[in-house]
Amino acid sequence: MKYYATRILEKGNIAVDDTILVKDVPATAGSRILENFKPLFSAEAVLRLENKDYTIAGKTHVGEFGLDLCGEFSYYSEKDENLYGAAAQLIANGDVKAALGVDMNGSTRRAAALSNVCFLKPTYGTVSRYGVISCAASGEQIGVYAKNVDSVSEIMSVIAGHDEKDGTSLKNERYNYSTYIPVSAKRVCVVKELLEKADEKTRARVSSFVESLRANGVTVDEISLDFFDIANVAWQILMTAETCNNVSRYDGVKYGHRAKEYKNIDELYTNTRTEGFNFLTKAVILYGSDVLSKNRYDECYGKSLKVRRVIAERFEELMKNYDAVLTPVCSATAYESYDIHQAFEKVFAEGVFTSVANLIGTPALVSNGVQLLGKHFDESTLLSLAGVVERKGE
């Protein structure tokens, strides 16, 4: 039970993280506030897998609302038990074929990198968010953990595609998740500024990935790019604001945790939420309320929306010359145990590697402890690039 929040089947081949709903199976997003909440329906991605005869092995622990580094702060598991991500660890152990996770603030990608498994965050709008315990609607996507890119591709082909139950789901019916497109003419850039933020071991992983790519004829340049920091700030503003709003429905009135002691409705709200959320979620709620407040909106939230547009243009411009951007995923190859009061700052700092993909909705693939960022709908290039590196190692 170390990794599972709820075990459903003895021999399922898919794990689902606890921010994704499976009908009648308790879903908590790792938070006490959703204690004993049983959903009335399954997420669209889960239904699509079940329709293709995949079976759900169980729900895996997540850090509360997926806001932490990689799953260490769940109400339902011991602190640090999942410092490598519960779903990613199940894949690493070979317990399941694949796992679904919600990529929102980088925790899924970091867990995959630390556990040395694959994780694909697809283009925004390709996988239905119906049945996701939503925090940051404008950038979150269900992604797939698996041991190798071929398994990622197999699962993505099942879950991707238009769903009328999600207004942000794109109309496309088919996407390309090929892992074997020719890579010899591809161009990849490595971002100097991001390498500098990572430790030596992490840089070595990037170097070794670069060597493998070059050995397969891929051109790799090291370049300087200045927008990752600002992209991270913009995403943290949008993410905290949207999360603050989306978790405001957990008020103790309808379902989930309700405080035992209260004298009136205001105390019911306050006591329930004081008990129900952990320190990190409370920090996110406070930051989110602040950036949305009337006198701060224009300089924070409004500006972040503009930054989102500018960065999308800058990224598009960059991708005229390159097919993918190669970056670290975390600043280190392992995290040390730390206190939850430091969590907000730590996650913020690590977000510099992951946030841009959530901000502008582009795909990101984690493989061999590194990250490949690509153009919208160009998952196949990322999968194929990682594929040649992966297969060389075999």
Binding site: A29, K165, E242, N245, K254, L292
Partner: protein, 474 residues
């Protein structure tokens, strides 16, 4: 000093859609028991996403066209954050930055003459649920959550309570005729922004907002009370006016402060990322325009052209059921002016006797048309027609059958008429003598006596002919 009243209105109207604004639960007219029409989406459960109901957009655009608004081709939704148990998501989905309609105008016909009221904007939003308090417990009924609303915001263009009521009546009749909303009790709610300034002043006075009133009578009383309160404060310094939100208490007829500006909640509006911007292209707009019913002003012009009086037009325009009845009767071949009199004078008279109003009228167009045609063709006289009308309005009888059963029909057979005429002639020998002596007037007197004897039955032209024949052969 003389003072001028300045009023702006925010009016919420529940739209008549089959389903709610973001889910497939039944709309406002569906629910019977508490929480009958509720799903994971409209009860705020995690994992559900809002799916826009297209019909809501169409009805909002229809309302905008009726109020002469500019229709936005790009419209978006925002979230408004506040905690209340009847708001399951703890935010209301509404429109702040790109409302669906802007810059409209509506012309009112009041005692001050024609007055234009500018419409600032119309936006779409979802309604909240209802709290039910029983003893020490409170319950939440989510049937009304996510029922679609439009909010119509005017500029501060009203100067009297009378104008406000004329405006609300006009909205009501327009929305009913356009299928936008039936505007039943509680489906139309108003926030009134009110201030008072010395006559001739350009600057606005301190503004207060009276929240959430649904009866027109309450709105009228609230405006009058609040205006007097402001004037007393300005004239006699009875109190210091502050910008605040107030509520109207129906029993005492007074308004009370709810909260003032300083402590007012910051709703932290921001764009809703789950609802993609809605694009209204030419094709869609034309489709909506094609289904838009005739505007009120056009309808009034048509009635005027048919010779209906201004007073009657006003009654018709503000009562769409009655104007529809009139249109239907006219469509069955009756004259519009006569029909208006039948409905607004005769039917209204019958109802008034029973303590009812035209709103209670349930006569069908077919029955009313049948009565009017009988009178027009001369087969019954107007008094008989009225008798039939009373029976039809009160008991819903079939007019033609009722006419026959009660012998109100003028088609009394010729032998019966001859009998009566013979009787009249034998009872009035002097008149007959006068006629024979060349007095034409005597013929009129005899004719009148026959008509009296027949009690209104029989066709006068026929009676006249038979009488003349008799007289000439005497």
């Amino acid at each position: 000093m003389n003072y001028e009243l300045v009023i702006g209105l925010e009016t919420h109207v529940e739209l008549d859609t089959k389903s709610k604004i973001f889910c497939s639960c039944g709309g406002h007219s569906s629910p019977k028991e508490p929480n009958d029409c509720v799903c994971p989406a409209c009860s705020g459960m995690p994992g559900m996403l809002p799916i826009m109901n297209k019909r809501v957009v169409e009805l909002a655009v229809t309302a905008g066209l009726m109020l002469n608004c500019e229709i936005s081709r790009y419209t978006t939704f925002d979230k408004k954050n506040y905690y209340y148990p009847d708001l399951p998501c703890s935010y209301q989905t509404t429109q702040l930055n790109h409302p669906i309609c802007t810059n409209g105008c509506v012309t009112l016909n009041t005692s001050l003459g024609n007055r234009d009221i500018r419409i600032k904007q119309i936006h779409m939003e979802e309604d909240a649920g209802k709290l039910v308090h029983e003893g020490k417990s409170s319950f939440v009924d989510f049937n009304r959550t996510s029922v679609p609303l439009i909010e119509i915001v005017t500029q501060p263009d009203f100067r009297t309570a009378e104008e406000v009521l004329a405006y609300l009546n006009k909205l009501k009749s327009m929305f009913r005729s356009g299928g936008v909303s039936e505007c039943e009790e509680g489906a139309m709610r108003c926030d009134v922004n009110i201030s008072v300034r010395p006559e001739g002043s350009e600057e606005y006075g301190v503004r207060t907002e009276i929240k959430n009133m649904s009866s027109f009578e309450a709105i009228d009383r609230a405006i009058r009370y609040e205006a007097q309160r402001h004037m007393d404060a300005l004239e006699f310094g009875t109190e210091e006016l502050v910008q605040e939100t107030r509520r109207f208490d129906d029993i005492s007829g007074k308004t009370f402060a709810m909260r003032n500006k300083e402590t007012e909640a910051d709703y932290r509006y921001f764009p809703d990322a789950n609802i993609m911007p809605i694009i209204i292209d030419d094709e869609w707009l034309e489709q909506i325009k094609a289904t838009k019913p005739v505007a009120v002003d056009e309808k009034a012009d048509a009635y005027r052209a048919a010779g209906i009086s201004e007073k009657e037009i006003e009654m018709l325009i503000y009562n769409s059921n009655i104007s529809k009845l009139l249109d239907d009767v006219v469509a069955l071949g009756c004259n519009a002016k006569d029909t208006a009199t039948w409905i607004l004078t005769d039917c209204a008279g019958v109802l008034r006797k029973d303590g009812k109003t035209l709103g209670d009228l349930s006569v069908t167009a077919e029955k009313l048309a049948a009565i009017i045609k009988m009178v027009d063709s001369g087969s019954v006289n107007r008094n008989a027609g009225k008798k039939i009308l009373i029976a039809v309005v009160e008991d819903g009888v079939d007019p033609i059958a009722y006419c026959k059963e009660n012998a109100l029909d003028r088609k009394v057979d010729a032998s019966a008429i001859e009998e009566i005429i013979d009787k009249v002639l034998s009872e009035n020998p002097r008149a007959l003598e006068d006629y024979k002596n060349g007095k034409e007037k005597a013929k009129q007197a005899l004719f009148g006596a026959c008509m009296k004897e027949l009690k209104g039955a029989g066709n006068p032209a026929v009676i006249k002919e038979v009488l003349e024949n008799k007289l000439n052969n005497c």
